[in-house]
Symmetry: C2
Subunit: 141 residues, 2 copies
Amino acid sequence: MLHALLHMAERERPMTSDELAVCLSTNPVVVRRTMAGLREAGLVASGRGHGGGWTLARPLEDLTMRDIYAALGEPMLFQMGNVSESPGCLVEQAVNHALDDAFRDAEAMLIARLGEVTLAALADDFKRRFAEHRARLKPHG
Amino acid sequence: MLHALLHMAERERPMTSDELAVCLSTNPVVVRRTMAGLREAGLVASGRGHGGGWTLARPLEDLTMRDIYAALGEPMLFQMGNVSESPGCLVEQAVNHALDDAFRDAEAMLIARLGEVTLAALADDFKRRFAEHRARLKPHG
DNA sequence: TCTTCATGTAATAATAATAGTTACGAATCT
DNA sequence: AGATTCGTAACTATTATTATTACATGAAGA
C-alpha cells in the first residue's frame, strides 16, 4: 500500500487500479479491495468512469503510517494474537495475565512510532536512496 | 506447549506423546515434532521404549517463557516480518530505516518480560484460577 | 443516447502455510 | 521375543491468503 500511495503522490492525474496493480505486481481487484479501506478512512478518493481512478485525499505531509494502520483495520501487530483473547482455558488465562501489560505497552509504543513517520518523510528517504542507487549503477554518467 | 509442560510437572512418571496429544487435543507426531525443539534446548528429556516418554529436564522454577521462546527457534513476534529484511525494494528500505529501532526496542522489551515469567509462577496462577473455578461451579460442596 | 472506461462486489479458484496422518525404523524394558 | 515408545520421512487435509472471473454500476465523451 505504501508503494501505491507514493506512486500516486508523484502523479497529477488519478491512477487506475490496473496501473497500480502493475506497480505492485498484483491484481486490480486486490487493489480495489485494499484501497476501499483507505477510502473509507478518508485517505484516498476514487472516481469512476472515464478519467477515474485513485487520488490522494490529503497531502503526504498529513499522512502518517499510523493513519494507514488505522485505515487497514488496525490489524494485530503480534503473531501471538490469541494471547489477549481469554477463552475458557485457564492456562491461557494465566499466560494472558502475565503478559497482557507487556503486549499492551509494546503495541502502544509501536503505534506511537508509526504516528511519527509521515509519508512525506518516507518519500524523501526513498528519493535519496533512489538517487544513490542510480549513482552506483552509472557512476560516470 | 505450556499446557504440556505444566501437565508434565504434575506427574512423577514420564508422559507419552499419546497422552500429551490427548491433553492438547492434537496428534502424537505433532507433539514429538514440537517437543524435539525443547529437548534440543535441554528443557525436556525423552526416553524410548517401555516406560519411556517425556520428562522435564529442569524444575519449573528454572524455566521461563523466554527459555521456551528460544527453544522454539525465536519465532518472529511481529506480523510484519519482512519489515526488517531489506530486500532490493527501496520503499521497504525506507520503511525499515524508519521503523527498525522501534521494532527492535519492542522486541527486546517483550523478550525481557518473557524472561520474568517462570513456569512455576504460571503453574501457581493456574492452580489459583482452577480452585476459583471449582468454587464457582460448586459453591456449597 | 450510446459507447467506453473505470470502480464495486460477489463468487470462485489457486496458492501457500500449517496441522494432521500414516507408516515404519530404532531403541528400551520385561 | 514381544510390547512399548520415540524418531522421522512422506503424504494428506485444512485453513488463510491471494488471485481471478464475471457482471453490475456509475461517469465522461462522441
